[in-house]
Amino acid sequence: METLKSLMANKTWCRFFAAVAAVLAPLGLLTLVQAQSQARQPDAKHGAVIAAQGTPAGAPPCAQCHAFNGASDSSGAFPRIAGQSALYLAGQLRDFAAGVRMSAIMSPIAKALSPDNVADVAAYYAGVEAPFLPLKAPDAALVKRGEALAKVGDAAKRIQACDNCHGPGGAGEPPAIPYLAGQYSQYIVFTLQMWQRDFRTNSPDAMAVIAKKLDAQDMAAVAAYYQQVRSPLAAAEAQRKD
């Protein structure tokens, strides 16, 4: 994993992996057909192939937007998915396919993935460690306000701390609850707006209620905070390497 991770940091190597994966794809498909037993375990290696190359049924490679290592980019259009729990990722894909979660981009892609594809690709991205992109430091005051919301909440607005569910430092409470640590601020704001306006309805009621209590400033603050925070585990890992 260590080697893979350092390889992933290098774009050239990423492309190489994608190419190798493409060659291996038919083999992966064969494996898939054979593995239609009830107790089928997700095949992360086959998931990597889908991520790199897409599927014959027409799903494009995830890597086109989310990068092969799941780090995506900071545009806000595509969330970071590296290391997100498999259960969560697979659930989102199913919701996209069923139209429970709306996205003009993701819905047709998710529809093109078989249930096994979904399980495999979710398992792949759940197991990837990816570096965090170097991003411009956000406004310190904004981060501070965001940190208060994340850790303590807001009494006047009756908003509980985000960390209650999303874990200390937004590390996530896998498998059900996604991490926020290191997620792109633009994406967090966009998603909160989706909940606020009732476009996103595929989560427990909690997020819609909370998003409606947040104003634009709150959203920007909490998003700025989570983009720069690292989960305690990741931080400890980074320190160990230094």
């Binding site: 908003i159 209650n164 209620v209």
Partner: protein, 592 residues
């Protein structure tokens, strides 16, 4: 020397459920109300947030949300021949402390009492004859409440809407509804929110109970099943089944409490003033001893104050209501040797403790996914829902798989015969942790002339005032009742597929060292006759009409159910009369 403060209209002694509810009713009529709370102020944000709020050692074991019994304890003995000793570590029951009181750390189990509960003595005599009660125990002193279910129904309804109770009605205006509790007293309408999701342990219980012909239903819960805005405009959120409910405060705005359903509106009202860390020493009376002039209290700095008030509401935990009356010399203290006197009389508790059902390893219960009030139960053995004619006891219990948690320190079920520590114990915990269902038996304990509350002759609190002394053991009637039901519940455990079933049921003597129930009741009971009650049907003191004692201390005897919703309804009922009758013409609302 006490500093005399500017007079106000109303003082509440305690700011928990009854204190905040009553204050809100009164400030809205324009009265100036001061709330005196002995504990600290606290709110969902910042005080109840994780990870600190999920500290099991701090809250479950060291009881951080409970009355500080280094300052004010309760002394206890089983009978009048023993010497009572102070309870220095709460276990059996857990009086709350701090803004919001015990209504912060409650589980959210939200029942109404039954029609017969309010006319209990009349009902038992009518159904079983006058001699029946004597046969159950000559020491029993059950009474009617002097308020009927029909009178309370609108107040129950209003209080449930304030909380946003999540449940399924079993009886709407006399019509039995499928899915609800068919033994439920008639409701005017459905619960404000649908029931919580049924956990797996509830589903297993449902199947077992149904196979024996019982009537399972979802437990009504004040941990909400969906987001809800109450009539005061306060929004609550849906419970996330975190498994830290009872003994804890909710970080999610999902459990109804004063903080989530009342206080944000009350604290904004300019007619209200909250004073925390204020210990009320006594209610002051004028020289006729029939009129209260206010209260004396000590603040956190040790300063003593006299707060004059026209109306004094005792709104503390039931045990503390009784103690306040005794310390203030309001009402005649009960004397068990003569049976005379009223304050401290008819103190009652509840019978609890059901079987543990050990399941096969293939059945994964995941007990940590729980709320304080989820689960499935039956009321077939509640109150007087079954024929007692040939049983030789009165009373009953509800029965249910209503597990609240799988917390690591508290939850480690092991079958009988396993050592209490060591390797074998660890192996048994690992084997059974995720495959065990606790079934609750929870019900009545009848009033007895032998059980009472008075002031302790020896032990004093931090301010030099006598502690409350509790003299209590379960009447034999309760043991017979609980053991009878225990047999029935073992059958349910078998029908659920239990491999090993550890039988439940209450035994004597009562001990304060094992958690049972925080539904301490009575001691300042309501009634028609001043020689057998402290307060009238409007919870107004017979002897001092400008003092009202609100809460479960008013119950003449305890009910089958968790009592918070009945306390809320009773508080609305009393406040209705205070607002519409008493304030227009202060004085006794009932002439004995």
């Amino acid at each position: 020397m006490a500093t005399r403060l500017k007079p106000v209209d109303v003082v509440t002694i305690g700011v928990g459920l009854t204190g905040s509810l009553a204050a809100l009713e009164l400030v809205e009529t324009g009265l100036k109300v001061v709330g005196l709370e002995r504990g600290a102020g606290r709110d969902t944000v910042p005080d109840f947030q994780s990870p600190a709020i999920h500290d099991e050692l701090r809250f479950s074991i060291r009881k951080a949300n409970m009355q500080d019994n280094a300052k004010v304890a309760v002394t206890f003995r089983n009978n009048a021949n023993q010497t009572a000793l102070p309870i220095r570590r709460w276990e059996s029951f857990l009086p709350g402390q701090g803004l919001g009181g015990a209504f912060v750390h409650w589980n959210g189990q939200s029942f109404r009492a039954q029609v017969a509960d309010f006319i209990y003595k009349t009902h038992i005599e009518q159904r079983y004859g006058k001699k029946f009660l004597d046969a159950c125990g000559p020491e029993l002193t059950i009474q009617d409440w002097d308020v009927t279910y029909d009178e309370l129904e609108p107040h129950y309804d209003r209080f449930e809407c304030l909380l946003g109770v999540s449940g399924k009605a079993g009886n709407i205006k006399g019509q039995i509804r499928p899915g609800g509790n068919p033994f439920e007293a008639p409701r005017s309408r459905e619960y404000p929110n649908p029931p919580m999701k049924e956990p797996y342990f509830g589903a297993i219980f449902r199947k077992g109970a149904e196979s024996l012909g019982y009537h399972p239903y979802p437990q009504p819960s004040a941990n909400l099943s969906r987001p809800y805005t109450n009539p005061l405009g306060l929004q609550l959120q849906a419970c996330v089944f975190c498994g830290f409910c009872e003994r804890y405060a909710c970080e999610h705005y999902a459990k109804a409490s004063p903080q989530t359903t009342i206080l944000p509106v009350l604290l904004k009202n300019p007619n209200y003033e909250l004073r925390t860390n204020c210990e009320v020493l006594r209610i002051n009376l004028d020289n006729t001893r029939t009129k209260a002039t206010g209260v004396t209290y000590v603040d956190a700095a040790g300063q003593e104050y006299e707060q004059p008030a026209e109306l004094v509401l005792i709104t503390a935990f039931p045990l503390n209501n009784v103690r306040t009356l005794l310390l203030s010399g309001i009402g005649k203290p009960y004397d068990p040797t003569t049976g005379e006197g009223v304050v401290g009389r008819n103190y009652t508790y509840q019978t609890t403790g059901g079987p543990t059902v050990f399941m096969d390893e293939s059945i994964n219960i995941n007990p940590f996914m729980a709320s304080g009030a989820n689960g499935t139960m039956i009321d077939d053995f509640g109150g007087d829902n079954f024929d007692h004619a040939n049983l030789g006891f009165i009373g009953g219990q509800y029965v249910g798989a209503i597990m609240t948690n799988g917390r690591p320190i508290e939850f480690h079920p092991t079958p009988p015969g396993i050592p209490k520590w060591g390797l074998e114990w660890k192996r048994a915990v690992a084997r059974h942790y995720n495959h065990t269902i606790l079934i609750q038996q929870h019900g009545t304990s009848v009033a007895s002339r032998l059980n009472y509350l008075d002031l302790d002759p020896t032990y004093k609190d931090a301010w030099g005032q006598p502690l409350l002394r509790m003299t209590f053991d379960f009447p034999d009637n309760d043991i017979r009742m609980s053991q009878y039901i225990a047999d029935k519940v073992v059958e349910i455990g078998r029908a659920m597929g239990g491999k090993i079933i550890e039988r439940g049921g209450t035994k004597r003597p009562y001990t304060t060292t094992v958690y049972q129930s925080t539904h301490n009741a009575g001691g300042a009971i309501m009634g028609t006759d001043p020689t057998t009650s402290v307060i009238n049907r409007y919870l107004q003191c017979w002897d001092v009409p400008n003092v009202f004692s609100l809460g479960a201390s008013a119950f003449p005897q305890n009910i089958t159910y968790n009592y918070s919703v009945t306390i809320g309804a009773l508080t609305y009922w009393a406040l209705d009369s205070i607002k519409n009758k008493y304030l227009k013409s202060p004085g006794p609302l009932v002439h004995a």
